[in-house]
Chain length 382, copies 2
């Protein structure tokens, strides 16, 4: 049965291919209707609904603690096909279900008849208002899912990346008491790299608690928590001795010179997070950091993230593909970039109790892609 289905599919795809290639030159309008389900009448329809992610553990970073994360789930429908998207709004970043709803209510996709026109559509979305990067990403991801489905292929494949080259993901250990940190480190057994949050005054205690349990490689993420560059430099030497591979966003993003000074002097790479949100920031700040943590929610989505990734590679900057607390929807979307990233921090769905999608998996610590088309997710909790 499976064999027969495969054969039918193969034949119908080959036939499709043959017919698509055969015609002589004809007008764009006429042809487009064959190849791409676009009958001219089809419209892009956006819908969205708020949802609250429940975290498995209280999560503490340098700036705050929380037990839930608000998200917005989006869908874009076109000619009977649906693309899924998501915005995640950790409270300290300025977006909320209200702001995202307000933004998405302004989006009018009915003027676009072709979902493939990502360059124009996403420029239009970006120009609706400044900021609102998660809201913009929720449209970008749904469109990419839709277009990937229309192309019948996953995005890593459309982008030409080898899905087997994905990195291991880190698993995040929030700031907490030594006992809780040790317990979380034990629970993180399946993951090969840990990302330890620092920057609340107990930096050495945090690392030493982890090191009583495991000698796995570590990343540390300061979330702008350090204020003194000499302290940061001293810590970078100490952390290197403790088996840390890099330091993420050590000092406030506004302290450009201090972060650049640390990058020039530190024995560990210094990775920008808050300081580099979008492509323009990457162009402007590239001298000040060794690398960048690219997150869809910061940079408006997959199209800009892909540009940032290729741009960073051209500048020999390190790239981490990161996420917020998100469902498997946005995290799967980001994972398509990971085969050519140096590091991945795609543990979002591992931290929540009520995922809405099935998507990428973390298998033996490694980001594992599947070749479902688009962003490759299936809705499991409608």
């Amino acid at each position: 049965m499976a064999n027969q289905r495969r054969k039918f599919l193969k034949n119908s795809l080959l036939l499709t291919g043959a017919i698509l290639i055969a015609p002589k030159v004809i007008g764009i309008k006429e042809k487009r209707s064959h190849a791409n389900h676009n009958t001219g009448a089809a419209k892009l329809k956006l819908s969205f609904k708020p949802y609250t992610l429940e975290l498995k553990h209280v999560f503490t970073v340098a700036s705050n603690s929380r037990t839930t994360t608000p998200v917005m789930l989006t869908e874009i429908e076109f000619d009977g096909m649906v693309g899924y998207g998501e915005a995640s709004m950790p409270p300290y970043l300025g977006e909320s279900q209200e702001t995202v709803s307000q933004f998405l209510a302004k989006v009018n996709l009915s003027k676009f008849s072709d979902p493939f026109g990502l360059d124009d559509i996403l420029q239009y979305i970006d120009a609706i208002d400044s900021n609102n990067t998660a809201a913009k990403a929720s449209v970008d991801i749904a469109l990419h899912d839709l277009v990937g489905k229309l192309l019948g292929n996953p995005w890593y494949r459309i982008w030409g990346y080898d899905p087997l080259k994905t990195p291991n993901t880190s698993f995040t250990i929030g700031i907490d008491t030594p006992e809780v940190v040790k317990q979380k480190t034990i629970e993180a057994l399946p993951y090969k790299i840990l990302k330890v949050k620092l920057g609340k005054g107990n930096d050495k205690e945090m690392i030493e608690s982890v090191r009583t349990i495991t000698d796995k490689p570590l990343y540390v993420d300061i979330n702008q928590g350090w204020k003194d560059r000499q302290y940061a430099l001293d810590m970078s030497y100490w952390l290197k001795e403790k088996g840390v591979l890099f330091i993420e966003q050590p000092m406030p993003k506004e302290s450009v010179d201090d972060n650049a000074w640390l990058t020039a002097h530190s024995p560990l790479p210094i990775i920008a997070d808050e300081a580099i949100q979008r492509l323009a920031d990457l162009v402007r700040m590239r001298g000040a950091y060794s690398g960048v943590n690219i997150k869809l929610m910061k940079c408006t989505g997959m199209r800009e993230a892909h540009k940032m990734l290729e741009f960073a590679r051209a500048f020999a900057m390190k790239v981490m593909i990161g996420c917020m607390t998100e469902t498997s929807c946005a995290v799967s979307a980001a994972a398509h970039l990971s085969p050519v990233a140096d590091f991945a921090d795609l543990d979002g769905p591992l931290l929540i109790k009520n995922d809405v999608f099935e998507g990428i998996k973390i298998i033996d610590g490694k980001v594992t892609l599947f070749d479902r088309p688009g962003i490759g997710v299936v809705k499991i909790n409608p």
Copy 2:
């Protein structure tokens, strides 16, 4: 009949879509064989054959004259589908049918089972030897044609660009006597912009000859022919008065400071050609020029050209999509980038008598794309 075919296609594509989306998570190997004709047994097979383009007119630029251009036509076959590519070797650039044959003989694609792995395959091609950019482009273009056909869509669409936004192409007037220049300007009636070659000592005479016939906007291309920066600056003011829009590669590419000085002082944009061949050159030289002429034969093909285009946009540099003397194969490949370029100089096939392909057309002066999949060419002269 056409209607029925359309309906069948639509149904089979929708069915394909539905089946592709339905399965639960399964292994990559197993799934890939459904979606992408890749049965595991299929191999990539490269073949190539030399061809000589016959020019309609003797063509003279600052460095030489010629009546023919040697090219190499490539094909990559995979599972019954064929992608077309081409290398063009104008004699002053250092590649020839011999060097391209030697390079292509070293290419072993049989180790790649998936044509979609462009990142790996093209890194392998690039690492075979330094330089040989046209030879590399001939593989890149054929692979893109193949992958686009497997995706059932043209590359401008896969890249998300609007095919209706293509620019007008310029038509090139080589260096010659006033009589011939006037005659060529008359023959160039269908084109809305002329690109006038300068740099052999008769600069003003060339422009004045054109201006006796037409007041169309002009580009000028010096091909490194000017040696004195003050002369270049004086000419830039004079050319601006004559309705010239930009100056391409005024001084030798090695004269970085002189070209940068001219860019800083000239009233016209200064566009790099010989000075910026690949992405790394663009990163290094971006301060010295207002923009870049991206050509597939210089930069190893469509994948790197696409990166250069997006990179230049991020730096607010002007982009021209250019070509060598080429058939409609390589020129059509380049044209997929033109919807987001500022300028196009895609007159290659217009200058030759014995094209091998039907591809893009220049209609009413404008680069006109069609939505045949891949690079969108049909072989007409096998």
